[in-house]
């Protein structure tokens, strides 16, 4: 098995209901995903795209079949470590953003870090640096409803990558956005992909497939077509994304850090 394989699904089946009401969201689904791939999954509603993402994201379990994440059989991983894996290795982007309404943007972004043992200060510092990358540093202490849809989706992408995960799972991230905001969001995803992240994205919009390195069409819980547009050898590999075991590396000169905290206070006052 190649070391570059990050996800391997073998004979994955997800069944809902029993007897007469039995239906299969996934049926004998086989898929191997290499590190650095940008996969678009397309297909009609109800063909099992979202179920697939949920299972890959460890939110759901398959009825039958094996799922190897980094060569480890997921069925053998206890629930608590699965939660830790979700926090550290997987980032979710949802169609409706799923930000917590009561928390300011910066705390929404810092949410995955809450469960990986960061102090509050380092959480906020880290979240702030990610928000800066998305040009949202002015909005740190805004509440989600005060932002536009495109901005909210960029916040949720920021949340997805704040813990430097290896896999980004996006379920129709542009589904609720106009074309302009969609473009901005896709550019961000493209940049993240360039840094070597593996992205699996579900979409209904065929125009977006230009960003992908591999396009999979699904039908009735099975793969209909599977087209690779970039050779495996040319996939971007993680170089810059190097996480230390515990503390995040924040390469900020000390005076820059002071400047940032001042700025944050200012924006709070404005708010």
């Amino acid at each position: 098995m190649s070391e570059n394989i990050i996800i391997e699904l073998k004979g994955l089946t997800k069944r809902y209901g029993y007897g007469d009401t039995e239906s299969f969201a996934l049926k004998d689904f086989d898929l191997t995903i290499k590190r650095g791939e940008f996969i678009m999954i397309m297909g009609p509603s109800g063909c099992g795209k979202t179920t697939l993402l949920d299972i890959i994201g460890l939110l759901d379990r398959a009825t039958h079949g094996d799922y190897y994440l980094n060569g480890e059989n997921v069925a053998a991983i206890p629930a608590r470590r699965q939660a830790r894996l979700r926090a550290k290795k997987i980032g979710f982007v949802f169609q409706n953003f799923n930000l917590i309404e009561d928390l300011p943007i910066i705390e929404n972004v810092a949410l995955p870090l809450v469960y990986t043992g960061y102090t509050k200060t380092s959480r906020l510092k880290h979240a702030s640096s990610v928000l800066k990358r998305f040009n949202l540093e002015e909005k740190e202490y805004y509440l989600p409803y005060q932002l536009s849809g495109g901005q909210q989706q960029r916040v949720s992408i920021a949340r997805a990558i704040v813990g430097s995960p290896e896999i980004i799972l996006a379920d129709e991230p542009t589904g609720n956005l106009d074309s302009r905001a969609s473009f901005a969001v896709m550019e961000e995803l493209k940049n993240i992909h360039k840094e070597g992240n593996t992205i699996i994205m579900v979409t209904h919009n065929p125009a977006l497939t230009v960003y992908a390195t591999r396009v999979i069409h699904m039908l009735d819980g099975q793969i209909d077509t599977d087209v690779k547009t970039v050779a495996d050898a040319n996939l971007p590999q993680p170089v810059s994304v190097k996480i230390k075991k515990h503390k995040p590396e924040i390469n900020l000169p000390s005076d820059d850090g002071k400047h940032k905290s001042k700025k944050r206070k200012k924006s709070r006052r404005k708010h």
Binding site: L59, I100, Y115
Partner: protein, 410 residues
């Protein structure tokens, strides 16, 4: 892990702050429960403090013989509650008193035999008046202030009574010219030889309110009522050293006198401060139960509001789980919330309870009684209530399926 606990605490605090009114009302439920418990414990504490100060006034040579409580079964307790005399089953007798009197080292001994009778005078007739039967030694053990006349003595021992201040007013509408008049008890006429000064102490180790009591000789009382139930025997020791040896000696003598029946106890020192009546214990127990019930109701309020909170934050739970919260993290987050609610409720209750106790002390002789035990009990109850009523909503939150939680809004 401690870091995560602090995070949970902060999260819970934020969540509570967001719903100020709701959280305050929930806390109030707990606060009322805690306040009533505090109030009752404080009252009970101040009552035994009152008795304690009385004992220390009397000196530490006091020793008391009481029958062992035979009120073990529920029927006995009900029996006791429905009869006016709370010591029906006393095993002490007049001969016990003389046995004690003969024992070496005893300076004075007086029986306390209270029965309830109808007392009549030329003006009024009072039913259910407490009549204390005792002997001449009583005044040597416990100094009662006399307003007029004299206490029972060798000259007037028979057919004479001493009236309490209030009782004198009730019977004759006066206290001045009462001495020399007659009262009628069960057809027998007795002469009033003395009237006590106002004592205004409703709680004493004798379990007698002297202001309202008629005092007479125990043997005369035995003659008119037919039987004498001695509830307590007061003993004054000759010297304060060797109280334990004296108690042993008395126990031996009494057991011998009663042919091996040891259904009594001899107590001295601080032990006397436990109020004499088991009725008191029953009433305070019942009050505490009622207060505990109100605390349970407050706890149900916490559970209710936590369930609402869990339902409201369904989506938040889903999001948190999706970004990496384990079920345990969610459980702790909600458990902390209910703990904070019940904790702040009990702090409120503590303040409220002592405020009430203080207000009560201005109209009653009960000074507010504060002890670390009461406060410790309060906070222990708080933690128990917080966990007991918070665990179910927390488990419910933790067991939410993240997919379901997120799907509702997809």
């Amino acid at each position: 892990m401690p870091l995560l606990l602090r995070t949970h605490y902060k999260l819970a605090r934020t969540a509570i702050k967001e719903h100020r009114t709701r959280s305050f009302l929930t806390c109030l439920g707990i606060a009322i429960g805690v306040a009533s418990i505090i109030l009752i414990l404080s009252l009970m504490g101040s009552i035994s403090n009152l008795v304690k100060s009385e004992i220390s006034d009397l000196g530490n040579d006091l020793m008391v013989v009481r029958p062992n409580s035979t009120k073990d079964t529920v029927t006995d307790i009900i029996d006791e509650l429905t009869t006016s005399n709370s010591f029906q089953k006393s095993t002490l007798s007049v001969s016990d008193v003389s046995t004690i009197a003969k024992t070496e080292g005893v300076a004075a001994v007086a029986p306390i035999a209270v029965s309830v009778n109808t007392v009549g005078s030329e003006k009024n007739t009072l039913s259910s008046t407490p009549v204390l039967g005792t002997n001449l030694d009583f005044i040597k053990i416990e100094q009662l202030p006399l307003r007029f006349g004299a206490f029972l003595n060798e000259k007037n021992e028979e057919k004479s009574v001493v009236l309490g201040h209030t009782l004198s007013l009730a019977l004759f509408n006066t206290i001045n010219s009462t001495v020399g008049k007659t009262v009628t008890i069960m057809g027998e006429k007795f002469m009033v030889v003395g009237v006590l000064d106002e004592i205004n102490k409703s709680i004493s180790f004798d379990n007698i309110d002297f202001d309202n009591t008629l005092i007479m000789d125990v043997e005369s009382l035995g003659q008119i009522t037919g039987s004498t139930q001695i509830q307590q025997i007061n003993i004054k020791a000759a010297n304060t050293d060797g109280m334990a040896e004296l108690a042993d000696k008395l126990t031996k003598a009494l057991v011998e006198q009663k042919h091996g029946d040891s259904n009594f106890k001899i107590i001295y020192g601080d032990e006397i401060t436990h109020p004499a009546s088991s009725l008191f214990n029953i009433i305070s127990g019942m009050l505490t139960t009622v207060a505990a019930i109100s605390l349970v109701v407050g706890g149900i309020g916490v559970m209710n509001i936590m369930l609402v909170s869990v339902a409201e934050r369904n989506r938040e739970i889903g999001i948190r789980k999706a970004v990496g919260a384990s079920s345990r993290n969610i459980l702790m987050q909600f458990l902390f919330e209910s703990l904070i609610l019940s904790f702040s409720g009990s702090v409120m209750g503590l303040l409220l309870g002592y405020t009430l106790a203080f207000l009560l002390s201005t109209i009653t002789p009960f000074a507010p009684y504060i002890s670390w035990e009461i406060i410790a009990i309060t906070f222990l109850t708080t933690i128990v209530v917080g966990i007991l009523f918070g665990i179910y909503p927390a488990i419910k939150a933790a067991s939410r399926n993240p997919i379901e939680s997120l799907k509702h809004y997809r």
